[in-house]
Amino acid sequence: MCVVVGVEAALEVWALFGMAADAPDDHATERALVARAQRGDTEALSELLTRHGPTLYRSVLLPRLGSDASARDALSETYEKVLTRIGRFRWQGVGFYPWLRTVALRVALDHLRRRKRTVIWDTDAVTREIDNVSQSTPIDERLSRSRDLEASRERVRAALDRLNPRYRAAIQLRVLEERPRDEVAEAMGVTPATFDVLLHRALKALRRTTQAEPGLGDGPSSTTNPEGGPTPEDDRR
């Protein structure tokens, strides 16, 4: 565990140095683009969105909204908001992305409020993220790209940790690692048809656990059964 944390910290420092090294040129170009976009130059705005949009989609919107269609809608809505609000943006030395990310988080929050909560992210979690933006340092903001993806994975891991190990393995191998059904069934020592039922029960158990106890990824709960909410006996019924 310590090794993993150490490696992650080293990667972050490396990423920070990497960003610092190419920052001056990159920031000067980006600042010029922002200034042009604020004067109404749509070409400049298009270049800014093309630079950061794909990252925004993959690290912020898709993990929080859970589907391509919702994430694309949210991205489009984010761009419309950027278009009308770019005049309010003030350069703070950390680039355009952190501001864009905050706009996207607010859009994602609106989307989550409009529909049934997703299992992995809920409105409270996204609200907390938006609140954290106001307290973050420039270094935090530079690291936000890499942290977003990791935070999302962490929430998935926290959700799976509440399940029994067999259910966790079924979801991990088939859904997250996208390994073929037959291969996973063999690895788990069951027939493919039996594995289908096992996976169905595992997902059902996960849904039940998260509905009973929202707030995944906020640390382990003292009231939760560490074995994973429903026991295999519960799910046999």
Partner: protein
């Protein structure tokens, strides 16, 4: 009891209901579609959850073409809106100019001229004596205040009619 007996075909899954087996089969088909990046029209709850988990754990990148199209659509809409706004401002300005020009023309327009070259003036009420009113039997019977009121009303009416004649609205 071994794990194989607990979870194998003869153990845990032996009591799966037909409904459960049907749902499991549907999930299998849906996951196969998701593996091939085929969008599901009406995903089951299981498939929706599986998609959410994948989106959160290994989110896929948006294709360059799709992203460019999205940027183009949003910026294109903004440009169209700008054009529409500009056109509306021009039309409003033109209408205001036309109204102002029309008002100026009406204001400055020469009054109709008679055959003998004299400008025709509207028919005005001439100032008249209030004596006939004072001599009327009804008025004599009324008090002083009533007489003054009647004269004032007559004067006011004359004045109003003359204003209307001057403006050309009578």
């Amino acid at each position: 009891m071994t794990e194989q007996n607990d979870h194998g075909a003869g153990g845990e899954m032996a009591d799966a209901t037909p409904e459960e087996r049907a749902e499991a089969e549907r999930l299998r088909a849906e996951l196969d579609s998701l593996d091939r990046d085929v969008a599901l029209l009406r995903p089951s709850d299981d498939a929706r959850l599986a998609s959410e988990l994948r989106a959160a754990y290994t989110p896929r990148a948006i294709e360059d073409g799709a992203h460019d199209a999205l940027v183009g659509k949003v910026l294109g809409r903004a440009k169209a809106k700008d054009r529409h706004r500009t056109r509306r401002q021009i039309i409003t300005f033109a209408a205001a100019c036309a109204a102002a020009a029309a008002a100026a023309i009406i204001y400055r327009a020469p009054r109709p001229v008679d055959e003998d070259g004299e400008r025709s003036l509207p028919e005005m009420r001439v100032a008249r004596s209030a004596a006939p009113m004072l001599g009327a039997r009804d008025t004599l019977r009324a008090g002083t205040a009533a007489r003054v009121d009647r004269i004032a009303m007559a004067r006011r009416d004359d004045w109003r009619q003359n204003r209307y004649a001057t403006w050309g609205v009578r």
